[in-house]
Amino acid sequence: MPPVLVVSLALSPVIYLTGRWRMAVSRSFTLAALAVLWMAFGLIIRDFSTTWIYAQTAVRFAFDGISLLITAAVLVLSTLTAVFSFSDVRGESGEEKYYAMLLLMTGAVIGLVSAGDLFNLWVWFELTAITSYLLVAFHRERADVLAACAKYLIQTATGSILVLFGIALVFAQTGTLDLAQLQVSATPLAVVAGTLFIMGFGVKIALVPTYTWLPDAYAQAPSAISALLSGIVTISGLAALLRVLSLLDGMALGWGAALIGFGTLNIVVGNFLALRQDEVKRVFAYSSISHIGFMLLAIGIGIYADQDAGFQSGMLHLFIHGLMKALAFLAVGAVIYTHRNAPLKVNDLAGLAGREPLLATAMVVACLSLAGVPPLAGFVSKWQIFAAGITTDSVVLVILTIFAALNSVFSLAYYFPIINALFAKENAPPQRPVPLGMRLPIFLLTAALIIIGLYPSLLDGLVIAATQSLTALFGGSI
């Protein structure tokens, strides 16, 4: 897989240049590049055992279970969002840049999760950030978009500099950057480095004090980009954070407790702020913050209580949350496309159920799944998180888990107005029909959420590989 990333890096300028000549050629190149990435992924998943290290070149890669899970998610989501975008941004100025950046971002996320060297990890992290700035600012003629992008850029750039300082501290102490050999002993400097990593990557994954860029960026980006950012790009920062924290020896308990604390805070703050929103994309953006909290809580439980169930539920939720959020944002994007009104309020959804049954079904499935209603996929992963938390010995963890479960029920309070609005009386007729290219990804994601909800064991291969890698990362250091 990692050597094939060259395809993504090399074809991205080709897509840009051919797009200036013929858009159809540019679109075909985008699909071709994604197909090559899929083929490489198929080859690697066929005989995947543990960690696959590629160190022939100066750029080292280590492809393990976490990389496998996130690569699967990013390929699924970027293929679907690319197909969706072929209809969504057709004919807009800068369309060729959009596809080029989309492909580059896909490659950057795969590189980020499979980097085998601490400094390369930062370079891939910066590349994901840079491509996402340009994609968020796609509608560059609107003042709101520019303001949201500026906010995103300032906060993320500051975060990545903090990560850089953390890497410099680790480098000063150990003299190596190879993730396989790196073990930082427990010293005050290592604590400082770990804090810098949590603060730096925390900006990217929207930990509570530094989440403010997220709702603006998600609400102002093109819908397909919100889907991709929310679904996987933001979450890949979590994988990077876990990989880096596992290097700091003998302090795993502390980091686990920190993740649990931040996770609980994220769940509460995300939920309460989502209640106040009346713009559909902002509701989903704030619900992202609370879902990141669920992942952090699960993985924190895994580290703190040394429980594989915590890792497993966290990784499952990571994958399923990507599908749910992608579906939610794509369905909103299709409504925005037909009505041509960019800030879509909850009330604007009125009448969708009668006119567009597929979009309405997709919205209902996405909302109920996000809230964790059985038998949809979101229920499976949330249930496993709560099961992992309840079975620990610590009383505090059990209380926190019950608190998180109550919050999950509470989240229905902001999903129900959306579902309710779908069935209200229509107030504005659509201006254009939903093209087939938009219906297809929405239909596939809706079907996937229902099927995974009924047969969650379909994802076992991916999730168990990721769990084993996480256990290997943190197992030795407790």
Partner: protein, 101 residues
């Protein structure tokens, strides 16, 4: 306490200056400059770290790589500044950016 240690501490002082500037400054171009100050601190930290553990070459080559990445960020930031100046008529992020949440 060698020279490298002093340089390493200096890098963190640059980080502090940049973070403080981010808190008090509202002009977008000045914010880009503040980010640049912090990145320069990080580069200094890499060079000092390289000389501390006897790997000056590696430390310096990492610093050069950082230059490439942070130049791109600075360019995007300045491009945004131009666009915001054109559309909002001001570079003050409090007027252009403030939204709830």
């Amino acid at each position: 306490m060698t020279t490298s240690h002093i340089v390493f501490a200096g890098a963190f002082i640059l980080l502090a200056i940049g973070l403080y500037s981010l808190l008090i400054i509202r002009n977008l171009i000045k914010i880009v400059i503040a980010i640049q100050i912090m990145v320069k601190g990080a580069m200094l930290a890499f060079v000092a770290a390289g000389s501390l553990n006897g790997q000056s070459n590696l430390g310096q080559s990492l610093a050069v790589t950082v230059i490439t990445a942070d130049t791109i960020v600075a360019i995007i930031g300045l491009a945004l500044a131009i666009r915001i100046q054109q559309s909002a008529g001001t570079l003050d992020i409090d007027k252009g950016i403030n939204r709830e949440g």
